[in-house]
Symmetry: D2
Subunit: 338 residues, 4 copies
């Protein structure tokens, strides 16, 4: 940590800070410059981070040097983590994982039809929401446990694994019973109580990036889960909020290589929620794989006109089939397979 002093900082103020640092058991070094003096402290930054040095008289600003996360960091683990989600499916290895399905679980027949279709095109995980976070209290809120049961039946019929969202800490056992991967949605990325709870179990967690969270905060939320001893975390970039209004969110494609450099955890892309428009999903899915993502999560619905949520961003099954053909070519071009 570097503490930058104000040009008018007095010796008394400087000594006060130096003493404080020493009192914490650390070794400060003071460096006097022409325009500014600074105090540096190397190592054990965790002890320093919680000290509000910016509130000390004579201090202009404080600059941390180390990243605040530990367990998710490449420094902690050099090689890529490969998350085994069961049924022979692994996220983070050379094989790209495609998760596909409807936004919401709506009825059993439809769900099983979609499941069969996406499986035949190469998807290995079925997505579908039983509990839906909706900005309006008057919108369809999901089928709840009934939806979870339909997902389980679709799994039984097709062998696809299941990923579905958990919103409420009180439902953790219920959702765990039916799903292979628990999704934590973007709006709950900083619901710390929820993160702590899913850190206590050992199911794979698909953690979506909050719409206005930095990559650093995203990794800190993953850290909550790993700190609870659940290392099975898959990160998902799903678009951030910007001023651009031709898409629902702005897919932050560079988050893929940024995360790959900072962390050992696998990362996938959600082009459906990022763009909000089915006719932009394909281009963004291809870009995601080309940028190095380990997988994709894509919304598919045979009749978007009748979808109870997000019909605008769902691909028709035939469009999904075409896209999968294209994605296989891109995967090959980057030395991977689907």
């Amino acid at each position: 940590m570097i503490i930058v002093l104000r040009p008018d900082a007095t010796d008394e103020q400087i000594n006060h800070i130096v003493d404080k640092v020493k009192g914490l058991g650390l070794k400060p070094w003071l460096s006097k410059g022409v325009e500014r003096s600074i105090i540096g402290v190397i190592g054990e930054e965790d002890i320093l981070r919680i000290q509000p040095f910016e509130a000390y008289p004579g201090v202009e600003k404080v600059m941390p040097i180390l990243t605040p996360y530990k367990l998710v960091s490449r420094d902690f683990r050099k090689q890529d983590s490969v998350i085994d989600v069961g049924g022979g499916v692994k996220v983070g290895g050379s094989r790209i994982v495609v998760m596909a399905g409807p936004c919401s679980v709506e009825n059993k027949g439809l769900l099983i039809d979609i499941a069969r279709k996406v499986k035949s095109d190469g998807a290995t995980v079925l997505r579908g929401g039983a509990f839906k976070p909706r900005s309006s209290p008057y919108s369809f809120q999901g089928l709840g446990e009934e939806g979870l049961k339909y997902l389980a039946q679709a799994k039984a019929e097709t062998g696809l694994l299941i990923v579905t969202e958990l919103m409420d800490v009180r439902n953790i056992e219920l959702v765990s019973k039916y799903t292979d991967i628990i999704q934590i949605g973007a709006r709950n990325m900083q619901n710390f109580d929820l993160l702590r709870e899913v850190g206590k179990i050992n199911k794979p967690i698909l953690l979506k990036r909050g719409m206005s969270n930095t990559v650093k905060e995203f990794l800190m939320s993953a850290e909550y889960i790993l700190a609870g001893c659940n290392f099975n975390v898959i990160l998902c970039e799903r678009g951030i909020r910007t001023f651009e209004d031709s898409t629902r969110f702005t897919l932050d494609i560079s988050a893929v290589p940024v995360i790959k450099r900072q962390s050992h955890l696998p990362v996938i892309i959600d082009p459906s929620h990022a763009t909000g428009k089915w006719n932009l999903v394909g281009a963004c899915a291809k870009a995601g794989l080309a940028a190095g993502a380990d997988g994709l999560i894509i919304e598919v619905h045979p009749n978007p006109e009748e979808a109870l949520s997000d019909g605008n961003q769902s691909l028709l099954p035939e469009k999904f089939s075409e896209l999968m053909v294209d994605l296989k070519k891109i995967a090959q071009a980057v030395g991977r397979q689907i």
Copy 2:
């Protein structure tokens, strides 16, 4: 709702949409233009909003006309809502309400000292976190129930009302027992299960705007609470996320008049979290009152160097006293009192 058609929309596609609208019991009107044709449907927009018309063939885009919220709207209630938070304190009337106190509750003696101090300067509500949302799992997470008890004791000693944050649905009874106003933090503004729960009780709720949520989404989250029959909602603008990095967030001062035009609910400003720097708090607090806010929530700590959270943004008690003198002048200039 206006459905804008593509220039190449066929008669068949147009008829399909018209029939769909009629099937919902509504009356469409088709208007053919030189470059674009459109289909309009007036009234009962709620029925339409959940139809994914953008997914229909021949449709270019869909433009809603009505706001999606009802109960929080000025259309629903013309006059300003005044929330009675108990002890003779009302938020939304001519008297400005100042809530002040430490970021976190740290120990009893300190808390009671601060409470006495801010009361003597004109604050009527004591703030302090017992459960703290922290981006790092390694930061101080709050004292929990012990902190709530200290708040209750500070109330008993000083007569100040209490506002404190609820993060976890499982703690709703616990927190309710000790506090006069329940705060829902920015990171939980779209934790819909939590919103639904606090909609079922009738304690006043201080709902903070999410760091990247629009005013419209903010009002929709308030709508969740009102829809549960709890009309005692106080809105709080606390800064939004932008590219500017000289402050922690960017205080959206125009949100005050925007909300006042759209909604009957009272709105207060949190200049401490918005700026993240104690030396910017005063200017932003004054701006808030001048813009028409009904109150302020300000962090005060006698020894920011030792604060366990957010020391950088806490005012020293003597700075708070000076600010209150200034605020009284601004309040008077806009025809109100503190």
Copy 3:
């Protein structure tokens, strides 16, 4: 255009608006709804757009239906524009165009070395700034005409075409004399006098998106150039400003398919300026091609440590060679060649 009326709009106010619309020679239709009434006017939206209807009493908001651009639109021209930049190089066809070179032109020998290198790897256009937009008045501002001469010599030596930036309207003849493609930088995307001037010549223009401009505004700036009769415009996405700070800007990858749907103009990606970090350039370049971009502009410098500007984001020639191998695979995967 749809004019949404306030719930309390009087008949007199409504008639006033209706009369105004008729007075402009257009046909309004009034539709009375339960909660809101609206007035629609279809066609000739240009006449309406400049009327400040939102300032009329009784009006709540105004919603335009048509896009404000004409000549750049897919409605104006269905097929993709292919820009012939000379020397057999065409932007927008099946062949991907790679522009590469140093950020700034620094000295002749170095420039010619880089030119030879990037040509051997498949680049067909040499980039290099002679006039540099720098946020600090104390930074290196470019070599000016001397730099242009070096570019011309590099062209003579290698046969590569040249792209370089024009910042000042007074230099238009000077820069035109030496370059094949004139670049308008992000900071000048809304320098309307400059846009008008380059609209009067018929050299190809590489128009970079402003760091905080929407795709719609980007297309409007291109419209300025086409409206002057210069249809040879290549668009360039180079990152937008967001809250994310792990990259210099956020590459808006979805802008590629969005622009492709809205406009017939070709679009290329600048991964060097978008990310600001050489080790992220490759992933973003690949993503750009996968998303459908028609080309790339990439910074290459044999000795980034000594570069007079933007050394942090320049690829070493050997890294560029490796990347070109990867890019050829991606191009093939999307049915194109480099």
Copy 4:
């Protein structure tokens, strides 16, 4: 400047950097930490800033310590600058300066009427655009020199000073002839050639903040003007681009105290362009004064329905009169006068 090394940096790499720093005539100090080592260099940061140390092998990141601006800084000049704009009007002193008038100069009679009106309410500077930056090439572009003449006549009639925008370097003499203050618009804040030119004259410059520029970049653009020896710069906050869409831009009210701490230059607020809506102008104008701004620039038009630009955000003269009454109270509350 602090150079943070990668955990795997070799001694050879470290020595290479240390030698480079010494070669620049500066003194590096190396500090080895448990998790990271760093190299610090204090003073003469200008020499270092242009070195791309992030491109050096073994370097993780580089953190500048000093601000990149000099002449605009409080370090350079402790006391507030007061800009004498002529006619006894000074910006930055205890008297608040109000600039008011139409967005565009449209016709002489109207302009003089508005001038008389705003003067009678306490404005001392008349605003009005003769050259207009418009996002569409088909919008009204201003009257040009004819508009400048009308402004001069309005000055002759009323004694108000004039502020008008300069867009094109070629018009600098023309515009200077007619105006007291030259405005550099938000879209030209980083038009460096234009900044350099207005740095060479000694007329007061009203520099508007770019819609997506940080305060630091804003001050760097002012630095361009001061570096040319024109110290008469007035800064203007006019809203930044964010995701919020209920206003045209988001007024960054905290920029006022931030700038006041960093710089000695005066700062004013433009609530008209920031909000884009006349009914939000008053609240934001009051907030601006309360936050410490030295003045305001406000659009006024007697017949917004007929305004050729920005009618939606113009105040009616009677609304302006009412606002001035309120503003005088706020000015008094912060110890100033209008």
